[in-house]
């Protein structure tokens, strides 16, 4: 649906986007991830024909952004970082205006306005002035505006920025529910958001593409080793954690066992095993055969945050890496 080849945007003094290439298939939600100032917004603006690229090409639904901008614009719904609302308009009126701009008219327009109000849960503020809406509603009206003409591609620039946790969840659910009919690119610097909503991730940093892969692959790729949290309890009240640790270390495939916590008869271990060795079954057996109770065993998920730091950290010299880490930690 979207093909980006060697896309570059240079300004007088700096290069905002540096030879980025990626592809997005139809119906997918793609997370566009990077610290602030990585070039996310610039890339999105190039895809929406707001900015022309310095070099390289981008096609949306088969149309080139430079050659056939009108065709591209017809197929794109765009929510900029700041929802483009006119404070003196009322919600329904605004959506009607945007619908007209996108080429809708008559009964179809009216029906679409009602439909997107319903979908984005803004029906109860239909007759309110946009300038008086709360941040959450403004964001949702912005989203309604983006989908009014039922575009093939949705481009959302930080759709959850500045919302409260409840609104963030609602917005995420809304975006997920749109995925079927639309191809969605959403930018964010919040990692859990990508983990929760997206199937594919594109990570950029300092204008360069760092990684593009599915969320699952990326997680397992960064893992390299599998980590399991294990809680072991002694049957009759006490457990010598040293013995338990040694027993666990003997299990085939285990690299390292760490005692995390000891509470009375219970000990919590972190066991790191080689990838693809499936040591979990053996671990369980070892514990049970030794006569202990296995209270808990769960794989420790690697968060995208760690992957992100690994990937962006690798590229950078130490001083430049510092602010990136801070941004990503938000």
């Amino acid at each position: 649906m979207i093909t980006v080849k060697e896309l570059t945007k240079k300004y007088a003094r700096n290069t905002a986007v540096d030879h980025i290439s990626f592809e997005v298939e139809k119906g997918q939600i793609v997370g566009f991830l990077g610290p602030n100032g990585a070039g996310k917004t610039t890339t999105m603006r190039m895809l929406t024909c707001f900015l022309p690229p310095t070099s390289g090409s981008a096609t949306v639904a088969g149309f080139d952004v430079l050659e056939q901008p009108l065709e591209v614009k017809r197929r794109i719904g765009y929510l900029p970082e700041m929802p483009p609302l006119y404070p003196e308009m009322r919600t329904a009126e605004y959506l009607t205006f945007v619908g007209r701009l996108k080429g809708l008219s008559g009964g179809e327009l009216r029906q679409r306005v009602d439909a997107v109000c319903e979908r984005c849960a803004v029906t109860d503020v239909k007759e309110k002035l946009l300038g008086k809406l709360s941040k959450g509603y403004r964001q949702r009206v912005g989203l309604a505006q983006a989908i009014i003409h039922n575009p093939d591609v949705l481009i959302l620039d930080e759709p959850t920025a500045g919302l409260d946790p409840k609104q963030i969840n609602e917005t995420r659910d809304l975006i997920k529910s749109l995925a079927g009919d639309h191809t969605i690119i959403l930018s964010t610097h919040i990692l859990p958001e990508v983990e929760q909503t997206c199937q594919q991730v594109i990570i950029i940093n300092k204008g360069k593409l760092v990684a593009t892969d599915s969320v699952n692959n990326l997680q397992s790729r960064a893992r390299g080793a599998e980590t399991v949290h294990l809680e072991v309890a002694g049957r009759n009240g006490d457990l010598d954690s040293g013995i338990a640790q040694r027993r666990l270390e003997q299990v085939a495939g285990v690299n390292r066992v760490m005692l995390k916590e000891k509470r009375g008869s219970r000990s919590l271990f972190e066991v790191e095993s080689q990838k693809n060795k499936f040591a979990r079954g053996d671990l369980a057996r070892a514990v049970v055969e030794a006569g202990w109770d296995l209270n808990e065993m769960r794989p420790a998920a690697v968060s995208l945050e760690e992957i992100f730091l690994q990937l962006t950290g690798k590229q950078e010299a130490a001083p430049a890496g510092e602010p990136v880490a801070k941004e990503a930690g938000q």
């Binding site: 707001f50 794109i76 006119y86 701009l101």
Partner: protein, 256 residues
């Protein structure tokens, strides 16, 4: 054309839901009514004086009221009101980020600019309509010639259109409405005073500058003459202003 009208309708709406339109209409109405009263009073006093002296001087409503009033409207409307109409056109959209919506919608820059300019011209016409009330009294109680008046209004409209186009262009240059307004005022003023350069300087450059001034082209309309040279001057100024706006909007994308 449809897209132009969509933009134009939206702009007119925002003029008329905000106090801007009403403020401009009231102010312009008051000012022109005041001048009308002033000229009318002068006219009546002059008439009485003539009668008392028993002299028969030709009295002419067109020459003595309509013409100076038209010249007045051109200065006041053109100088003080045009910047207030155009300053928000693009500056506001750039500040609030709504320009991104317009630019990423399937309509061309030219349609956006034309729609906005047309809305500005419509508001300006409404302002001119307010002054027409004054003239209605002249037609009720006197017998002025309507043709010079109509041509005078055409001139006002053309001159307004030209200055509005320039104001539109200046509004595309900045995010700040105040700067857009002040710069437009400065440019309008400059286009005004340029005419007087040739009064004390007779070089070629002074002639050119004086010719470029907006009010040297209004004189013919004011007299009730429809001169194609002056109409073409205004039309080309409108074109220039809108053309520059389009270039400026394009450069906005290459630069920003």
């Amino acid at each position: 054309m449809r897209n132009v009208l969509i933009i134009c309708g939206k702009e007119l709406r925002s003029y008329f839901v905000s106090p801007i339109a009403y403020l401009l209409l009231t102010m312009f109405g008051f000012v022109s009514a005041f001048f009308f009263w002033l000229y009318l009073r002068g006219f009546v006093e002059y008439g009485m004086e003539m009668q008392m002296r028993g002299e028969m001087f030709p009295m002419n409503l067109n020459e003595q009221i309509i013409r100076p009033l038209l010249a007045n409207s051109a200065v006041i409307g053109g100088l003080f009101f045009i910047p207030m109409i155009t300053m928000r056109l693009f500056a506001e959209e750039k500040r609030s980020g709504t320009i991104e919506l317009l630019v990423t919608s399937p309509i061309s820059d030219a349609q956006v600019i034309l729609g906005k300019w047309l809305a500005a011209v419509t508001l300006y016409s409404c302002m001119l309509l307010f002054t027409a009330f004054n003239f209605a009294f002249l037609f009720k109680f006197g017998n002025p010639d309507w043709k010079p008046l109509a041509i005078g209004y055409l001139g006002l409209l053309l001159q307004g259109g030209a200055l509005l186009a320039i104001g539109t262009f200046i509004s595309t240059l900045t995010k700040n409405q105040i700067i857009a307004g002040a710069a437009t005022f400065a440019v309008c003023l400059l286009l005004w005073v340029m005419a007087s350069v040739s009064e004390f300087e007779m070089s070629k450059w002074a002639q050119v500058l004086s010719y470029m001034s907006v009010n040297s082209h209004f004189e013919s309309f004011e007299k009730g003459l429809l001169d194609s040279k002056d109409s073409i001057f205004y039309a080309s100024m409108i074109f220039l202003g809108l053309f520059l706006s389009a270039r400026s909007m394009e450069s906005l994308r290459w630069r920003s």
